[in-house]
């Protein structure tokens, strides 16, 4: 460290010389503002990379960097709880900057509280940002989402999980990957969404039936997975990330590079991910064959042909092998009963292994998307999108005579999607969006299995049209819209009787959706929103025509070709606000009625086969009602010390038969304490967190509705710490977290592996990412 005298000495001798030759006398100063509250932010770190100069903002949000040479600079602005902003700008003369940071994460853990661009929908939205994604990179998409209140996961072990929002999942939940409805084989609970969260910069859950602009069975909510726009920055920038987790000895590596050229106006980004983990462990034993391998790549190109016409191209490839707990592969009801009574599952080994053997899943998903945007005037523009998706799903079981090498389920799905949209903004706050979508899905069983397929081959054509209008008037936003879809489906199934024959079915369905709502700011610190939506959903191919043995649950599943459409009305009411900028709260109540709700009902029949007796499950319809509450609050105890509490309650009822609905999430309560420090030594933006999640026992279920009673409630504690460090050219982020701190043995009601084994024990995850 130079002392003041030396500094003075240097200044005396060299500064005039530098000033003379380069005229380095530019002063850069500015203010840092909070996007949501409009208040100044103190303790923000500002760093001019090329000048290697930094400053910290004071209590007025003011900072100053003096004697800077005139040239182009990369400027980074970081602050606790905010996404670091990277700016590229020219400093030729004295400059005063006003920099706005998106600071909402400090309020309600990523709740888009009062989003900077104003509210765009009356439906409730919550997101995960880049920091949340990076710090949970060891999790898959569904597990990551479970930190949002009202979102849970149904799992088949730790690596295969599907999100559940307000009690609905599978084909009732639409997942949009970069604006395109994810087209995969995800109608079962043992199918994970085929998306690499590391390629996304934001993941948003829209709770409500309001997202009528998207195709899909949006009876439930919508999950948007979006990559970042390429920044208009002429230099190549990149980021490398790595994590290690002790449970499963998992490693993950991610690299991203991007650049934007001014001439020709073209930007590109490439993202690659590699992940590998082995057998997970419970507090007492290894879960044999629960490893995972993943390799993904995504490429994004953006080109502006003119001021009015921009296009982008996105390609992604997702490839994974996921092991399924060996001891959960069950032959028949007797085996199941035996497996249920065991403390430690069959096939448990003493040693850790990275091996993935049968049973396992091999999934490949490739997406290509072409999008073009044309502005006729500033208030009228078109969007055109084409996308193609190719999805392979192979499931391998333990089979006799070398047939383990052959998948016992092998599906290929190829889909084409086209969309045209028109957006118009009128005076007086009116906005209208309308468009059409067309989707063709070709789903076939590859004939390599030697097994009668569970689901038949089909080709489906779906055309849809929507109109949405919204109006902002002072403190209110009104929104309403409707959509219509027509689906024509051609099916070719193989008979289950001998001699085997081909049976063809033609389905056609008309679906209607409508939604309306309003958002009203009662006072500056309190707003209410109400959203009412109606939607209908086709019975899916599996619900109509499944026929056969589902090994994973040891049951025979039978579809019903006569199933009708489901019809749903969902009401959501939310209230959010803050008291004296100290207590921030948000609560939501929802009530959804689904007529002709399709579900898999265990019948009284036990069918005799050569493999023993199996219970028969039939797809049936009933009227269902879902009611729930999500609530979250943040209290700022001190300036750098806050607590967050989240609670979700849900109850599902079969109202025709007056029974509880099976597979409804149990209630949870989550709390965290956060302490933030601007700086320790060379580390900036330190955050420390203690968290605790309590999951209640699912008591709302009758004993005969499941193979075993739901497991008792459980409590998991965790710790997390993160920090940033600025080196000359790079910015480093570090995090360390501990999940299931006390190594508690527990089972979760929504985890199907719970029939056989405990859930994961202690896990320590460390991660680092460096960006330049």
């Amino acid at each position: 460290m130079l002392n003041n005298k030396t500094l003075l000495f240097f200044a005396f001798f060299f500064l005039p010389a530098i000033a003379f030759s380069q005229n380095c006398n530019v002063n850069v100063s500015g203010y840092i503002w909070d996007a949501s509250t409009g208040e100044p932010i103190s303790d923000a770190h500002i760093y001019l990379k090329e000048a290697r100069k930094g400053a910290v903002s004071d209590s007025a949000g003011f900072f100053r960097l003096s004697s800077v040479c005139p040239r182009n600079y990369h400027l980074s602005v970081s602050h606790i709880g905010c996404k670091t902003r990277e700016l590229y700008m020219t400093m030729e003369a004295d400059t005063t900057l006003h920099i706005v940071l998106d600071h909402d994460s400090r309020l309600l853990d990523q709740v888009t509280f009062i989003s900077p661009g104003g509210k765009t929908t009356t439906a409730e939205k919550q997101s995960l940002n880049e920091k949340n994604i990076a710090e949970n990179a060891n999790e898959n998409l569904a597990n990551m989402l479970s930190s949002i209140s009202g979102v849970r996961v149904i799992r088949n072990g730790n690596n295969i999980s599907t999100p559940v929002v307000h009690g609905l999942y599978g084909n009732r939940l639409t997942i949009l990957n970069n604006g395109v409805t994810q087209s995969g084989q995800q109608w079962g609970t043992d199918h994970s969404p085929e998306i690499d969260p590391w390629a996304a910069s934001r993941i948003t859950v829209i709770k409500g039936v309001g997202a009528l602009e998207y195709q899909g069975n949006s009876l439930g909510s919508i999950i948007l997975v979006e990559p970042r726009k390429i920044e208009k920055e002429p230099h190549m920038h990149g980021k490398g990330s790595y994590f290690f987790e002790t449970n499963g000895n998992g490693h993950g590596l991610n690299g991203q590079l991007q650049q934007h050229y001014e001439k020709p106006a073209l930007g590109w980004r490439a993202v690659g991910t590699l992940k590998k983990s082995g057998d997970n462990e419970t507090p007492d034993y290894y879960l044999r064959n629960t490893g995972r391998e993943e390799a993904n790549i995504a490429v994004q190109l953006e080109k502006a042909f003119s001021e009015r016409w921009t296009t982008d191209l996105y390609f992604s490839s997702y490839n994974t092998n996921i092991g399924v707990l060996r001891g959960s592969h069950i032959g028949n009801l007797t085996d199941l009963e035996e497996a249920l009574t065991r403390e430690v599952p069959f096939f448990t080994e003493e040693d850790f292994s990275y091996n993935i053997e049968a049973p396992y899943q091999k999934v490949n998903h490739h997406l290509i998307k072409f999008h073009s945007n044309y502005f006729i005037t500033d208030n009228l523009w078109f969007d055109l999108t084409y996308s193609g998706q190719l999805n392979y799903r192979k499931e391998f079981d333990v089979r006799r005579s070398g047939r383990t090498e052959d998948p016992s389920l092998s599906l290929r799905q190829f889909s084409h999607f086209a969309e045209g949209r028109i957006n118009r903004q009128f005076s007086k706050g009116w906005k209208v969006k309308s468009g059409f979508q067309f989707n063709r899905v070709d789903n076939i069983n590859l004939p390599e299995t030697g097994v009668l397929p569970l689901i038949p081959d089909y080709i489906s054509y779906e055309s849809g049209i929507f109109v949405l209008a919204s109006k902002t008037k002072e403190k209110a936003l009104f929104e309403f819209g409707g959509r219509y879809d027509y689906e024509d489906r051609r099916i070719a199934a193989i008979s289950s009787s001998v001699p085997r024959e081909i049976i063809r079915y033609d389905n056609s369905f008309h679906n209607l959706g409508a939604a309306g709502g309003f958002n009203y700011e009662l006072i500056k610190s309190l707003s209410i929103a109400y959203n009412l939506g109606y939607a209908s959903r086709n019975p899916e191919v599996n619900e109509l025509y499944s026929n056969g043995l589902h090994q994973g649950v040891s049951g025979i599943e039978e579809g019903d070709p006569l199933l009708k459409q489901e019809q749903s009305i969902k009401n959501t009411f939310s209230l959010k606000g803050n008291i004296k900028n100290k207590l921030f709260f948000e609560s939501m109540v929802y009530l959804q009625q689904i007529n002709d709700y399709i579900f898999l009902n265990p019948t009284n029949e036990v069918r005799l086969t050569i493999r023993g007796a199996f219970p028969v499950f039939e797809y049936e319809q009933t009227d269902a009602r879902l009611f729930g509450v999500d609530a979250a609050a943040t209290y700022k105890i001190l300036d750098h010390f806050n607590t967050v509490i989240k609670y979700s309650f849900i109850r599902g009822q079969d109202i025709s038969n007056n029974l509880p609905l099976i597979y409804m999430p149990s209630n949870t309560i989550y709390a965290e304490l956060n302490y933030q420090l601007p700086k320790i030594g060379k580390f900036e933006n330190l955050e420390l967190q203690v968290n605790n999640r309590y999951v209640f026992e699912q008591t709302y279920l009758l004993p005969n509705q499941d193979f075993t009673a739901p497991p008792p409630g459980y409590n998991l504690a965790g710790l997390k710490a993160s920090a940033e460090k600025q080196s000359a050219k790079m910015r480093h982020n570090f995090f360390i977290k501990m999940d299931n701190l006390f190594n508690v043995a527990y089972r979760d009601y929504l985890n199907r592996q719970r029939y056989f084994a405990d859930d994961l024990g202690f896990n320590l995850i460390i991660g680092v990412s460096s960006s330049f």
Binding site: A493, L608, T609, G612
Partner: protein, 189 residues
């Protein structure tokens, strides 16, 4: 507004076009060779002095689902020792595929278990895999006093043959998966 009308019209045209254009039907699916299926189990019991074997047979010609299986069982003689042999077939294939050979080839990955509610009915293993553990394709069955009850035959795939009691025919610690589990109602006279 002119723009909007034109666009709406265009949208409708596209929609009608896409809704009315010729639809492809899926190709005929290839009917798989269901080689792995076991449709038939036959347990033949031969006695030295009585020439005609007693047969316990389970046959489900269309595999899981479809028509119910046909289960037949002859009457056994009391206080008699039979030598038993198992035959497994897949009669969905023509000619019928002999699954017994497959089990023999993978003997160390398979074991049959015999359970009975009849008093004093004992089944002993007469064969062994390369590690010296029993398989159960060949057995000796000894009946006790007359009565009625059941005999259940279970084939476990990938059992833990070295677990306690498994080699002597106790299924409790065997693990693995059930490939076959059939129960016969048997009279011993």
């Amino acid at each position: 507004m002119k723009h909007l009308n034109a666009i709406l019209l265009a949208t409708l045209v596209v929609l009608m076009f896409s809704a009315s254009c010729k639809k492809d039907e899926p190709d005929d699916p290839i009917i798989p060779h269901e080689e792995e299926v076991i449709t038939t189990l036959r347990y033949s019991l031969i006695h030295d002095t009585v020439g005609i074997p007693v047969v316990l047979s389970f046959q489900d010609l269309d595999g899981d689902g479809g028509n119910p299986p046909v289960v037949t069982a002859d009457t056994l003689r009391a206080h008699t020792t039979y030598s038993g042999s198992l035959t497994l077939l897949n009669e969905l294939e023509t000619p019928a595929e002999n699954i017994t050979e497959e089990i023999e080839e993978e003997a160390s990955d398979h074991q049959f278990f015999f359970q009975s509610t009849l008093s004093n009915l004992i089944v002993e293993y007469d064969d062994a895999d390369e590690d010296g553990y029993p398989v159960g394709l060949s057995t000796t069955l000894t009946t006790g006093s007359p009565g009625s009850g059941t005999i259940t035959i279970i084939l476990r795939h990938e059992p833990e043959k070295d677990a306690a009691g498994v080699a002597s025919g106790d299924i409790a610690n065997a693990g693995g998966e059930t490939d076959i589990e059939v129960t016969f109602n048997v009279d011993v006279k």
